[in-house]
Subunit: 501 residues, 2 copies
């Protein structure tokens, strides 16, 4: 075996790094994905890096330049160093972050599959018109919009639901209702980076199109609960606040407030936890609600039990009927302990018309984890026929923050079954042949592509968690054999290449 | 069992449609994904639809409006119908297209895994500066670029490699070379829609960072060959044209042509198959190459064998050395019959420096299927240190066209294990409970969310390919039992809910 002294100077440096420790600690990864707390830190780091972007040293580690066979002097006369960070508010996904993202998305997909939903997707760039609603939503103010080279107004999608509605309209009668569709897609918002928020996130959506009854909403909440349970999250960690927009609707009708103000009022109400009550009142007044209507509205919104609500609105209304049925179904589905009535929940999108719900952490540290509801009239606002519909959006940011808080983030390591290495340069082709055979048998192989000292190979094997090292040496190869080392046990043997499994 | 007469009028319409036939035929799906031939058709369809976008009928099927419980009259006073098509040059992925996309991407991922590559991703929106190279590439002319609301020049990424280079620079010394990274990401180009081309496609990239020798290129080609084999594509369907930019480099050096013209010359040469030779010559002249140099260049480019090339350039050069080694490795890897030398291959990106390759269909009907090469100086043009690197891009369009041509597109049906249905409305909660139990046992369940006639349920079961129908009826439920029907055999029995597996 080659001695340590045979190591290339750069490679010694690699060994002195501590890749295993780096991979077992999840903090750099969670710092990336978390939101809002740690995104602020990432932003600070990012802006610090931008100011250095003309330096020759990267922001995250001082670096003295590569030497030896792995590099050669730059050919161009010292070009300006680009900003190595992704655009403000966006993320790269290096392998460790990508493993986490894949793990999360795989769970989204697996839960959707358990519920019999089919996956769909839409363009990340949509016509701006799809998002121009007149209710004063935050989502519209934050539209990541552009004029394209053909002078069309386009936007990076801020949410998936309008695209889904567009596709349902396009499909028309060619699809059989109900549709149960899910999507996992990137959504964008353009906002000043003052609150440590990112400008993009991924969102898991599940939607049921064509079912008017609240069994649909119950099914959706059940799927989110199933997801939480898979994560190890319990009903003492997380709950759902549930209400219905029909509660507000009934109050507004009572005060003869025009129907076209409904969306606007909902959007104002949705800000209650963010801005002072005086402001809310002012905005409601500006929307031409009477003092009396505002008073009644705010009183109803403070109601926290269905019994109390029934006292206020009477037992006959749709709001009470829907909510009672949902709570009854929750028992059968088995998620009663996860949900609670809260009249103050209205959600921030103008198009909801019935049940609305919001997942929250019971410690109250984080923003909403997910949210959804019924939107029976979205298609008609797009000029289509009304089709009953409901759905939810579940972002990739707050859940990661929560899992981190609860110590539930998994340790995800790279995992390769074999590392294959030739003992000298002339056997590189033989090693390639062995790798090909193993891959044809479905085994993953990290093929060592250069002539490297064994010490280096063992380090790499540890870093990628290889199960087995396969060494192609001259005398064994002449007999059609290779050396095998099981890395967990240290067991070593020779085997015919044909017998490798 | 309820009679057919009990069916809702709309539901009868659903039965008369032929969902099974629709799902077993792949033509609508492949028409969407294919390119360039069928994209033209899709474009025609799309523009035809746009002209109708103010009608109340969708483009793909006349529709008489929904009736009964599934709809209610629009609340808003007939708003303008939005354009139901995705923006020009982009695609929706309804379930059938999404299944195909997932199947394709799963194969990309599985091959990458077999080769020990780790997945990464980058923002789809990048700083425009990342793509501003001065060699006159088509990719720059077609940049999908904008000014964002903060007056920054940004672009939807036209390719993944610059982002990868940026991330490698950002990581600096914190990563151990070699890196073997892959990505599957959407890329955008803005071009006039005259050639039936789409403005977005997905691209599978594999890159090896830190390996100077051509074993890296051999490994990359081997992975693409592995992918083709999984698809059922053979070396009589597809081949790789291989050359090295060093061939041109050596000719240019011979004629003392300045190194900074190299990229530009390559881009001109790359157009040889697209524009007349006179134009090529004119452009080369405009780049200040002498008549003699142009003549020699074009002569070398017509060379189709390594032996001939060796005659021209001599045996000592790097171009010949690299190419010979690659062809020798190809034998060991087992893909000799897939590759052929062709001096005319240079690829259309300015940053390639060594081996370049291009996958093509041997019938010559399609554009390049994939392409790649070595780009040892890309990081230094970004102001970083040189790091040896190579990689390839493999789009999702041409491969689908090829698979369709060869009859190799799979039939991908929706697949749900169970469909669970209550026999009357009061048992909806019981059906939900059964669905929950099955899902907890890992079984996928399509829960019928409304009270529907059995006939409807059977049709739906067939459409989603359910294996088993579970009926929750009153008398069985009182005994803790449900009815089961195995849909492939017609076998029927009752079983305790606890014993359902």
């Amino acid at each position: 075996m080659p001695s340590l002294l045979a190591l290339h100077p750069r490679l010694i440096g690699l060994f002195l790094a501590t890749p295993l420790r780096r991979h077992s600690s999840l903090s750099p990864l969670s710092r990336r994905l978390t939101f809002p707390i740690s995104a602020a830190a990432a932003r600070r780091q990012s802006s610090a890096a931008s100011t250095q972007s003309l330096d020759t040293t990267p922001n995250d580690s001082p670096r003295s330049g590569r030497s030896g066979s792995l590099s050669s002097p730059p050919v161009h006369d010292s070009p300006q160093r680009i900003d190595v960070n992704p655009p403000k508010g966006t993320r790269d996904f290096p392998p460790e972050e990508m493993r986490l993202r894949n793990w999360l998305f795989d769970n989204f997909r697996e839960v959707s599959r358990l519920f019999g939903f089919e996956e769909v997707d839409f363009p990340v760039l949509e016509s701006e018109a799809l998002y121009i609603r007149k209710a004063g939503e935050e989502i519209r103010d934050q539209l990541y919009c552009f004029e394209d080279r053909g002078n069309r107004r386009v936007a990076l999608r801020p949410e998936l639901t309008p695209s889904l509605a567009r596709l349902v309209m396009q499909k028309g009668k060619s699809v059989s209702l109900p549709l149960k569709w899910f999507a996992v897609g990137q959504c964008w918002r353009y906002e000043r980076m003052t609150r440590g928020r990112r400008r993009e996130h991924y969102q898991w959506n599940m939607d049921i199109i064509g079912v008017p009854g609240v069994t649909a909403e119950a099914e959706l909440i059940s799927s989110i609960v199933t997801f939480f349970k898979r994560m190890g999250i319990t009903s003492s960690d997380v709950g759902f606040k549930v209400s219905s927009r029909k509660v507000l609707q009934e109050v507004l009708t009572c005060y003869a407030i025009p129907e076209n103000l409904f969306g606007k009022v909902c959007i104002i109400i949705d800000k209650m936890e963010k801005i002072p009550m005086d402001e809310i009142k002012k905005e409601l007044k500006a929307a031409e609600l009477s003092e009396e209507a505002i008073k009644e509205l705010l009183q109803v919104l403070s109601v926290k039990s269905l019994a109390q609500l029934e006292e206020k609105l009477g037992a006959a209304g749709e709001a009470i009927g829907d909510l009672k049925e949902l709570f009854s179904l929750a028992e059968k589905f088995g998620f009663s302990e996860w949900i609670q009535f809260d009249a103050a929940v209205v959600r921030g999108l103008a198009y909801y018309t019935g049940i609305v719900f919001e997942g929250f952490d019971r410690e109250g540290k984080l923003r909403a984890i997910c949210g959804g509801g019924r939107y029976d009239q979205l298609l008609s606002t797009f000029g289509g026929d009304n089709v009953p519909a409901c759905g939810f959006g579940f972002g990739d940011a707050v859940i990661i923050e929560l899992l981190k808080e609860k110590g539930l983030l998994p340790e995800l390591s790279p995992l390769v079954e074999n590392i294959v290495c030739s003992l000298d340069h002339t056997l590189q082709g033989a090693a390639a042949a062995v790798a090909t055979i193993l891959r044809e048998r479905g085994q993953s192989v990290d093929l060592v592509l250069e002539n490297k000292p064994l010490k280096w190979v063992f380090k790499r094997a540890a870093r990628i968690n290889a199960r087995r090292l396969i060494l192609v040496g001259s005398s064994e190869w002449q007999k059609g054999m290779v050396g095998v080392k099981i890395l967990s046990t240290g067991e070593q043997y020779e085997i015919k290449v044909d017998e490798l499994k």
